[in-house]
Symmetry: C2
Subunit: 138 residues, 2 copies
């Protein structure tokens, strides 16, 4: 918990009890988490607080937002030292059609794409859908 506190402080986020818990929750889960997920896990807390905590985390580069095509925004912890805006840190995400969980494949960067004349890419999002390792193993 001390480590989490330090991580938050380093990134310019005041380590309140709520935030520590949310960070811990994100760290334990190895998949991308939606606001609704968190809400279910912290029934006592306000949705708004959770929402704003996630946004704060995102602004401070503690989590990155994931759009996996479900229409629901999800979040996952950033790797320490990663800057999710840089092309080299853009990794792909995998959405399982079976368990509906989305995981970061941080080792798999998005390949560079040659665009037609006139197009300038600043950001990229690649989502693969299918069956994840947990579900295919059975």
């Amino acid at each position: 918990m001390k480590k989490i506190e330090q991580r938050l402080t380093e990134n310019g986020v005041r380590p309140t009890a709520m935030r520590l818990l949310i960070y811990k929750y994100l760290a334990e889960k190895e998949v991308a988490i939606s606001l609704t997920d968190i809400e279910a896990a912290f029934a006592k807390a306000e949705r708004t607080t959770l929402y704003r905590t996630l946004r704060t985390f995102e602004e401070k580069k503690i989590v990155h937002q994931i759009d996996d095509g479900t229409g629901i925004q999800k979040y996952a912890l950033c790797e320490p030292g990663c800057d999710c805006n840089l092309e080299q840190d853009l990794h792909l995400h995998f959405l399982c059609n079976n368990c509906d969980e989305t995981v970061c494949l941080t080792e798999h960067k998005i390949p560079h794409i040659n665009l037609p004349e006139g197009f300038v890419a600043e950001d990229a999002n690649l989502v693969l859908k299918g069956i994840c390792d947990k579900c295919s193993g059975q």
Copy 2:
């Protein structure tokens, strides 16, 4: 208009007046269209009708749905003969941060990705964001 009628019939969609107009609209626009766009263009028509028309078109492989990360579902005409479910027909989309328009880059297929053991990909979505050719030209 006869051609459109034929296209719809071939794909098993009854060519009503409404549908012909919507198809025509999609064909003229060269960018991905949201339900709200269409609603604005056809002020007289019901949202539900437009919504269901788009869904029907999608089911019958006349349009494909695009998730460009804006949280708004968009649609664009499929190339004749394309099967948007097949890996070889999966192309990437480009969302312009300046004009907010999303275009299909049908010539640019999504590269094949080697996934970790246990992951089986069935579908893929790649969206690049940046400045499009129209906006960068100025």
